[in-house]
C-alpha cells in the first residue's frame, strides 16, 4: 500500500476542524481542572479531618486508575443516573476531574516555593483567609505553576484522544470516521499523529520558555 497525498489533502479541512475541537476540549478541561485543583487544595488545608481524608482518597483514586475507565464511568454513570449530558461536556468533565487531582499536587509544590513569612505577615495584619488566598498565595502560585501546567495541558491534549471512544468528534474520531469512508488508514493516522505532534511540540517549547521566566522569578 502506498502513501497517497491526495487523501491527506482531501481530509485536511476535516482534520483541522477536529484539531480545533481537540484544542477546545483540552482548554475547557484545563480551566475546569484548575478550579478542581484549587478546591482540592483548599479542602486539604481546611483542617477538617473527614474532608481532608475524602480529598486524599479522591486524589489517590484519580491518579491510580486509568483515565480511560474514568471517562467511561462518567459517560455511562451520568446517563445511568438520568443526567443526559452532551458528549463534549461529559468529556470535559471526565478530563477535568482527572486533571484536578494532578493540578492540586502542582499547587502544593508551588506553595512550598512561597516564603512562609508572607503567610505570617498576612496573619499578623489580621487578613481574612480569603484575602490571604485570593490576593497573596494563589496569584503567585498560579504564576509559579505555569510550566508544569503547560505540560499538563499537552497531557490533556493527548488524553483527549480517548474521548473518541465516547463519540466526541475530535481529531482522533474525525480520522476514524474518514478512514471508515476511504479505507486509507496509513495516510490518515500518520497525518493525525503529525497534527498531535506539532501541537504538543509547540506547547512544549512554550513550557520551556515559561520555565525560564518562572526560574528568574524564584531567584
Amino acid at each position: 500500500m502506498t502513501f497517497e497525498p491526495r487523501y491527506v489533502v482531501q481530509a485536511l479541512p476535516f482534520l483541522i476542524r477536529g484539531a480545533r475541537l481537540t484544542l477546545e476540549v483540552s482548554l475547557f478541561a484545563i480551566a475546569l481542572g484548575l478550579v478542581v485543583g484549587v478546591l482540592l487544595t483548599i479542602i486539604r488545608q481546611s483542617r477538617i479531618k473527614p474532608l481532608e481524608a475524602a480529598a486524599s482518597i479522591y486524589i489517590s483514586l484519580m491518579r491510580g486508575t486509568p483515565l480511560f475507565i474514568q471517562i467511561l464511568i462518567v459517560y455511562f454513570g451520568l446517563s445511568e443516573i438520568g443526567v443526559d449530558l452532551p458528549r463534549f461536556l461529559a468529556g470535559v468533565i471526565a478530563l477535568s476531574l482527572n486533571s484536578g487531582a494532578y493540578i492540586t499536587e502542582m499547587i502544593r509544590g508551588g506553595l512550598t516555593a512561597i516564603p512562609p513569612g508572607q503567610r505570617d505577615a498576612a496573619k499578623a495584619l489580621g487578613m481574612p483567609n480569603r484575602y490571604l488566598w485570593g490576593h497573596i498565595l494563589l496569584p503567585q502560585v498560579l504564576f509559579l505553576i505555569m510550566p508544569p501546567l503547560t505540560i499538563e495541558f499537552t497531557g490533556l491534549l493527548k488524553a483527549s484522544a480517548l474521548l473518541s471512544v465516547i463519540g466526541v468528534v475530535e481529531l482522533t474520531r474525525t480520522s476514524q470516521e474518514i478512514i471508515i469512508g476511504t479505507f486509507r488508514p496509513v495516510e490518515l493516522w500518520l497525518t493525525a499523529a503529525t497534527f498531535y505532534f506539532v501541537m504538543c511540540f509547540v506547547l512544549g517549547a512554550v513550557a520551556r520558555r515559561f520555565e525560564r521566566v518562572a526560574a528568574a522569578y524564584r531567584a
Binding site: 486508575t65 486509568p66 467511561l72 443516573i81 484522544a161 480517548l162 493516522w189 493525525a192 498531535y196 511540540f201
Partner: protein, 232 residues
C-alpha cells in the same frame, strides 16, 4: 439506582482473567521497555550525533503523540507495509515503545545525577567506560531512578487499558464483556477501577521498598543520621 454486587460476584472469573492478562502485558513490556529505555538513554548521552539524533527524535515522537494514536499506527499502518501483526504483538510493541521513551528520560536523568567526579575517578583508576558504568554509575543512579520510574510504571499500567480498543483481552476489555451481558456499567467499571487501583498501589509500595534498598539511599540515610548527630 442501586449497586448490584452480583454483577461482580457472578463474573469474577472474567475479571480475574483480564487482570492476569493486564499483569502479563505490563510485566513483559516493562522489562522490554526498560531495556529499550537504557539503550535510548545511552544513545542520547553519546557523543555521536548519529546516535543522539535518532534517540531524541524517537523520544519526542512518542512523547508528543497520544498513546491511542500510536496504537492505531502500529495496528493499522504497519500491516499496510505487508507485515501481519496480531493484537498481542501490536499491544506489547506499543506499550514497549511508549514505556521505553519515557523510561529513557528517567534513566538519562538518573545517570546525569551521578556526580561527574565519580566517573572521572573510575577512569583514573583504570576502569574501562563500560566497567565504570556498570560498577560505579548504575548502582548509584538507582536512588534517583526509582521515584520517576515508579510514576512511569504506574502510567504504563493505566495506559494499558487503551489496548482494549484493539481487542487485547486485558482488564478493560474483560469489563466491557461483562457489560455486554449484564448492562451494568457502574458496577463493572467500578470493579475494574478498584482492581487497577490495587495494582498501582501495590506497584507504588513495591517500588518504595526497592528504593530503601538502593546503595545511595542507605548511604544518604547514614549521612543524614550522622549530620543530625553532629548538629546537636
Amino acid at each position: 439506582m442501586k449497586f448490584d454486587l452480583s454483577v461482580i460476584t457472578s463474573n469474577w472469573q472474567l475479571f480475574a482473567r483480564g487482570f492476569g492478562v493486564t499483569l502479563v502485558y505490563c510485566g513483559v513490556s516493562s522489562i522490554l521497555g526498560l531495556c529499550l529505555g537504557l539503550v535510548v538513554a545511552l544513545a542520547r548521552l553519546s557523543r555521536s550525533v548519529w546516535l543522539r539524533g535518532p534517540a531524541v527524535g524517537f523520544v519526542e515522537l512518542i512523547r508528543d503523540t497520544p498513546f491511542l494514536v500510536q496504537v492505531f499506527v502500529i495496528f493499522f499502518v504497519v500491516p499496510a507495509s505487508g507485515l501481519t501483526i496480531s493484537a498481542t504483538t501490536a499491544g506489547i510493541a506499543a506499550l514497549t515503545l511508549y514505556g521505553g521513551a519515557y523510561f529513557s528520560e528517567s534513566i538519562r536523568g538518573a545517570i546525569l545525577s551521578v556526580p561527574r567526579g565519580q566517573t572521572d575517578a573510575a577512569h583514573a583508576a583504570g576502569m574501562s567506560h563500560v566497567l565504570a558504568m556498570r560498577r560505579i554509575v548504575f548502582p548509584q543512579m538507582m536512588a534517583y531512578l526509582i521515584p520517576p520510574l515508579t510514576n512511569q510504571l504506574i502510567g504504563l499500567v493505566k495506559d494499558s487499558s487503551v489496548l482494549s480498543i484493539i481487542t487485547v483481552p486485558e482488564l478493560t476489555m474483560a469489563t466491557q464483556r461483562v457489560l455486554g451481558t449484564t448492562f451494568a456499567p457502574i458496577e463493572a467499571f467500578s470493579m475494574a477501577a478498584l482492581l487497577y487501583w490495587v495494582l498501582t498501589a501495590c506497584l507504588a509500595a513495591l517500588m518504595g521498598r526497592l528504593e530503601h534498598h538502593t546503595p545511595t539511599h542507605r548511604a544518604a540515610r547514614q549521612t543524614t543520621a550522622f549530620l543530625t548527630v553532629a548538629d546537636r
